[in-house]
Symmetry: D2
Subunit: 267 residues, 4 copies
């Protein structure tokens, strides 16, 4: 009997706001979703209007994901458009729970309105990073998600407090790995402020993606082999090489018979 | 055989924002909802974060309405917190439809999360007033509401374009009357900028409410009797006499055997 | 004796917001300001944080303009980041006056902080367009500008209510013309919703700029010659051909011995 | 020869936003400024639109302070209206410097526009508290203030990093004390989350104010006598007893011949 390895590829999308653009959302969508050979990603994390996105952008992005069979996810963030949700903010658990409920509830309505379903929730930016370490914040997020729909999948950094909190709340979880980021020996991400934090060559990133997907392992920046169970790999959309990396990952996984599938199908 | 006349009393609620208060929301809720003799209103229009309200306030207000059996409605407005949604804005139909979908979708999630259901949608302020006259805008609102849930009730000024648009969209509608406002002979409201626009004595307002509810009629400012079919009467919360007016209406309707009931039970 | 014709070329700048970009601000600045042959424009209208811009962007853009000798102007707009200040809003005169004072005051502080001076104020988008027709709104803007500094120059559409209001307030005014837009016979701009509203070829736009600058005239869309006194010509930055148009105008004016000069030097 | 002790009393004001109220600004102003016996305070810290306040409120509050001879100060905060500037945010120094410059520049324009001058700057909420400990943040604030006008007075917690940074920047500083708050033995404020953090009886607060003003000392919560040099004492406006405390302080200082004077007159 053969065990088929499955993995999801997710990407942040729908980050425009009014006439404003961040990165090149349109080019990204064209390269990752509207491709002749089928989508390069399987799940989209769609901004919900707090750190990015607006109702028109949400509508457009949800329709696009639905049309192409890409899993629809909510991407809630801190209420900080100016800082794009990347600045840490000190909120109470009650604020976080209800901020998540608000954003996820709104995005779920857009999905339902086009006959699609919301599949997952992945916190954005500082909210994601803080919740990886802070169990109380992680619980507040999980609670907000569960209140919208207990069948939603919560996406968090593999091994993080957010994954623990999601499981404790009875949610399905998807453990995320970063093919283009260096890891510390303890499974945390090497800070972007340090040299070597980002893997820039597509082939190196693709190789790391394969190791995560197939072997549940990654080589730390300091050389150690570490275990890293991942259900979904993040494809960053905000760098010029992102599209090349996404394609290289897709190709490498296919060569190794790892099956790309939306997280909703297997977690 | 006797026909039982039924009428709904609605009131805007949940208009605080962070530490900010508008009017005296707490006093209003205490007087209209948390009363020994039962709620003085049957439906609450709850702000959705654009012109007023925030996730914590929405959560608190939805729970309160649910606990006391008050019908839960969404109260979407223009994206203008500074102007409290009272300043006309020129939005495209597409913007309006999706702004409404966003806000109503978010509030519906709060209702579901506490085991309650969203019953109705009443646009706020300038959005309500413009949609009374502007059929294209009215259609955009109705479309946004229908996309969240075609079973929702759309509340609009009796005789207005919003009511027409809701019906054309296949939505149930609730025709609204204002017991404390003077009417023009054509069924529109006398502008607040003109003298005599507001009925200030509770007894006079209560008498007008009864005529609307029982007889489907109101006396215009210029003396004409006009037909005015109403399913729900608005109780303004932002004046000191609002609570007295609400109580007077309730008492007068009871004396005349008009039954107060949530709009969801009869429209 | 020879009369030297002088004209100013102005362009909107500093419209980014956090990580968000609108158009290609950087390319625009590189092409219009940081050029070996000197700036292609003489005045910059810098967004003030209401419809676009943020404190970091304001600081950066003010410093750039100051370094290159480009006249610094404030570009206040409606409080509507989502709509980029292009959506009409119904504000009171008191709101408009103080919204202008706030934004212009803030930008003036950035200018002073780098040893430069604020020269002019040009309202943005819907505020500009509405004030061209609405004298009460125009007066509110002029009052807001005068309260910051009565020596500021107010920029408005040539022949508009804003120019009248500025003069009546005792402000210096700069009458603006649009080389890339068609005019109606009454001197108003042909609506963008109609065909032929935009002049797209750089040479045609440059020829129109020359006629405005040298002859005080323009040919209306319907063929009439109309008088149009202009002190400054707007170079739009949000189209791919904008830079070509700016260069063509500059070249054509130079050929005809029309001198480009900051508006502060001659109005 | 006698040394006359002088002290300033400051209060936050102008914290409304549109129709929204926080605390009872009007009652506070009536009680502290528009009194027959003269103002109970000597300096007002006026919100600048980021955490509270809007252009109309700023205009109204600045005019009121100017008319009554109360020193006008800017009260910049984090860009977080929802959280009223009380939630810690992780901003870069560059962001903080320019956010302060923006807000103070705007308020200074309102002051100048009514023929008054901005006297001081006191950061608000989390910005104030973080800058008391974080020298880098304190420097960014001081830099933003100095860029608006190096003659401005920077108000900070007595003994804090903000005072150090202001002095290092060459600014005049005003060291602030809190008559209604308990102190730790190291001169920091006892956390509001702990019992006994707030001094509630007006007479006790007044006695502490006198000790700070006259003796440069305060008794810590744990009993130690600690030195505390103060130039200005904060009168909180958001509690019912605030007005009583302000009056008691004023009376107690007068009895002891401590002279109330605007900080601009003596620091």
């Amino acid at each position: 009997m053969e065990i088929v390895k499955k993995i999801d590829l997710n990407c942040d999308m729908g980050e425009s706001f009014g006439v404003y653009r961040v990165g090149d959302d349109a080019a990204l969508i064209a390269a990752l979703i509207q491709t002749p050979e089928g989508c390069a990603i399987t799940s989209a994390n769609i901004a919900c209007g707090y750190h990015a996105g607006d109702p028109l952008v949400m509508d457009r992005t949800v329709r696009l994901a639905a049309r192409h069979g890409v899993g629809i996810g909510a991407h809630p963030g801190f209420p900080d458009l100016l800082g794009f949700g990347r600045r840490a903010m000190q909120l109470t658990s009650n604020e976080i729970e209800n901020d998540v409920l608000y954003q996820v509830g709104a995005l779920a309505a857009f999905a339902r309105s086009v006959g699609a379903s919301l599949v997952h929730v992945k916190p954005h930016g500082a909210l994601y990073n803080m919740a990886a370490q802070d169990l109380e914040m992680a619980r507040a997020i999980a609670q907000g998600v569960a209140r919208v729909d207990p069948a939603l999948i919560l996406v968090g950094l593999s091994g993080s407090a957010l994954i623990d909190a999601g499981r404790a709340m009875g949610l399905r979880v998807a453990r995320e790995g970063f093919a283009d980021r260096a890891y510390n020996a303890d499974g945390t991400l090497r800070s972007r402020r340090l040299p070597g934090a980002v893997i820039e060559t597509p082939e190196a990133a693709a190789e790391r993606a394969l190791r995560m997907a197939r072997d549940g392992a990654v080589t730390a920046y300091t050389g150690e082999e570490i275990a890293l169970q991942v259900d979904t790999i993040c494809v960053h959309g905000d760098t010029p090489t992102a599209i090349d990396i996404a394609r290289a990952i897709r190709r490498r996984l296919a060569e190794a018979d790892v099956v790309l599938a939306p997280m909703g199908a297997f977690v």
